[in-house]
């Protein structure tokens, strides 16, 4: 025993770095994801929507047509019957993230590998972190590839190179997309720690997803008026009610992601949420510079990241206390 470990033990501290073995777990997780059939299916799904929406978008966008930000419009242009690619992303990213991690902890438990892994010289921290980062990096790889694909096809078809401004906006949107995936991944990881059965964990995650996609706006529509004053008489009350509704809808990560997409991909959008016509009266109809757009969605972006970290922290606490008996 090294003297340093003995001293630490005497102080009641845990020896060594909590991240010992993180690299090994991370590599294994990514290898599993990238070679797995599950991932293949998901990649095909995303690729299919990307190609489909890109094709329809390119039908409407022509180079030289007076528009700026052609490349960003590849993400946002919709033509019947297909919605825009961003719409698909808002729906599919959670599903992919959930599919990657709903069985990460309980799967190990059911395979009876968990106790064998934890009997190796690594902390639980490394295992959990490795699983989370493995999923997140996989998401990053997949979406980066899709982004490059969109830009590549764009260059071929549009014939003009993307501007720095466009590239910057697309990259920030990519970051937003990854953390939008991160929050759902952290949620699925949490459920995979809480529930022993992977099927239950997957269902619970999907239930939360469905709740936010389909019902949250209805819930806000019902709850917001109840919280505010009974009758709105003044302008201040109207503004307050509107803002309350705004705050409530923003509990949903989908709203946060939609905000990020709107501001980043449509540079002419300068406001989010509740705005009075009076406020728009003197507004200039010109695109915002990237830095200004970033300022507008900064709270949304940090909100997504913070929620991801919070969910992960909760999972961490639960996992540390869990009895491993397999």
């Amino acid at each position: 025993m090294k003297p340093s470990t003995r001293r630490m033990a005497a102080r009641g501290e845990r020896e060594g770095s909590p991240w010992t073995g993180l690299g090994a777990v991370l590599t294994k997780e990514m290898a599993d994801h990238l070679t797995g059939v599950r991932m293949l299916i998901l990649e095909l799904l995303v690729l299919l929507t990307a190609v489909g929406t890109l094709y329809t978008a390119l039908q409407t966008i022509r180079p030289g047509s007076n528009n700026e930000f052609l490349y960003l419009r590849l993400f946002t242009t919709a033509q019947e019957p297909l919605p825009a690619f961003v719409f698909f992303l808002a729906i599919l990213v959670p599903l992919i993230a959930i599919a990657l991690s709903f069985d990460s902890i309980n799967g190990e438990f059911n395979r009876r590998t968990l106790s064998r892994i934890l009997a190796q010289p690594v902390y639980r921290d490394a295992l959990l972190m490795g699983k989370f980062l493995g999923g997140l990096f996989t998401l990053t790889m997949v979406f980066s590839a899709i982004w490059l694909l969109i830009f590549g096809v764009g260059i071929l078809r549009l014939g003009v190179p993307p501007t720095t401004e466009e590239t910057g906006r697309a990259l920030w949107f990519l970051l937003g997309t990854i953390f939008y995936g991160g929050i759902w991944m952290a949620l699925a990881l949490l459920f995979s720690t809480v529930f022993r059965s992977p099927a239950t964990a997957a269902l619970a995650s999907i239930a939360v997803w469905a709740f936010f996609i389909f019902f949250w706006n209805i819930v806000v529509g019902v709850v917001a008026p109840l919280l505010g004053p009974q009758q709105i008489t003044t302008l201040e009350q109207l503004v307050a009610a509107g803002q309350l509704q705004m705050i409530l809808t923003r509990i949903s990560p989908i709203t946060l992601y939609a905000d990020i997409a709107t501001i980043m991909l449509q540079p002419t959008e300068r406001f989010l949420g509740f705005v009075l016509p009076v406020q728009l009266d003197r507004a200039i109809q010109a695109p915002l510079p990237l830095a200004q757009s970033l300022l507008v969605i900064w709270p949304q972006l940090t909100g997504l990241i913070a929620a991801t970290i919070l969910l992960f922290a909760l999972t961490y606490v639960l996992f540390q206390r869990q009895e491993i008996r397999a």
């Binding site: 009641g12 020896e15 060594g16 106790s115 064998r116 009997a119």
Partner: protein
């Protein structure tokens, strides 16, 4: 450094009102094979988990190879191999890939991993299936792979939970001989089991568990003397009724008890008094058909001990 590889003092684990392990004092010496025996639910697995730091003790002290499992788990787990009961692997990976992962988690240098993995696999004689997916492995192969998984870190102490459970007798025997060869190389082994006759063959010392307590501890003959009184059980088979020789046998020296069972006489004695017993039967006019001495089996000790314990609680 002292001779103890593993020591617990007053180790206790409570789940609510239920006490799974109750003030356990356990010590295992360097190089010995120690068997934790007891019925299911006696607290064997909980004890093992506490030794490895996978479960926090409610009370008491644990020292494994000079480390405290709660505070120095990394140093401890680097040197201690643990084989859980029903060891699990990643079924879609090959045996080699499964062990590679474990080797990496143990921080074995990259240039040594390949050699160490192959050596461990060869040790358990799985070399010809090293690149087969573990999903296709039989129970016996998995168990052997589990041992290879432990051997990869060259452990000083190996802890096995029910290593022979679910193996057919032949496989179990093979597995036990593997354990035996490890012991000969100087590895200390702690194993838990409820299959007593198997454990008896390879354990230097055993500890009997009951309801979270270690009720008996020692070598098998020591336990036999403590529980059964005599260390020898002699079986005598005679022609005709056995009952009439009872008196003659009871008169012999060193006899503790004589019981007649289905025409057989069972003599419990402090020494091997077969010759005297035969003589006594013949003198009493009997014709001897069979005479044998049973070595003390753990099964007997176990059954007898728990019978007595039950009687005591009833009285």
């Amino acid at each position: 450094m002292n001779d103890l590889v593993l020591e617990t003092k007053g180790l206790t684990k409570r789940y609510g009102d239920f006490t799974a392990v109750d003030h356990l004092d356990l010590s295992v010496r360097r190089g010995e094979v120690f068997g934790l025996l007891g019925p299911n639910g006696a607290g064997k697995t909980t004890t093992i988990l506490m030794l490895l730091g996978l479960t926090e003790p409610s009370e008491g002290k644990v020292n494994v190879l000079g480390f405290d499992p709660a505070r120095q788990p990394l140093s401890l787990k680097k040197r201690v191999g643990y084989m859980p009961d029903q060891v699990g692997f990643y079924d879609d990976l090959t045996a080699r890939e499964n062990l590679f992962y474990i080797a990496k988690l143990n921080g074995i240098p990259r240039d040594q991993i390949k050699r160490r993995v192959e050596e461990a696999i060869e040790r358990v004689r799985l070399t010809d299936v090293i690149d087969k997916r573990v999903g296709a492995f039989s129970r016996g192969m998995r168990q052997r792979l589990g041992l290879a998984d432990v051997l990869i870190k060259n452990p000083q102490l190996i802890i096995m939970d029910e290593p022979t459970q679910g193996l057919d007798p032949e496989l179990a025997h093979e597995f036990l001989s593997l354990i035996h060869s490890l012991k000969e190389e100087g590895t200390t082994i702690l194993l838990s089991s409820h299959l007593l006759h198997q454990v008896q063959a390879i354990c230097d010392r055993v500890g009997l568990f009951s309801r979270g307590r270690m009720v008996l501890q020692g070598t098998v003959p020591e336990l036999a003397r403590k529980v059964l009184g005599g260390a020898y059980r002699i079986q005598i088979e005679t022609e005709g009724s056995a009952a009439k020789f009872r008196k003659a046998l009871e008169g012999l020296r060193d006899v503790n008890a004589v019981t007649v069972n289905d025409g057989r006489i069972i003599l419990e004695a402090q020494k091997d008094i077969r010759a005297d017993a035969a003589e006594a039967v013949v003198r009493a006019g009997g014709r001897l058909r069979g005479l044998s001495v049973e070595s003390q089996s753990l099964d007997d000790i176990y059954t007898r001990y728990f019978e007595e314990a039950k009687h005591e609680t009833v009285n």
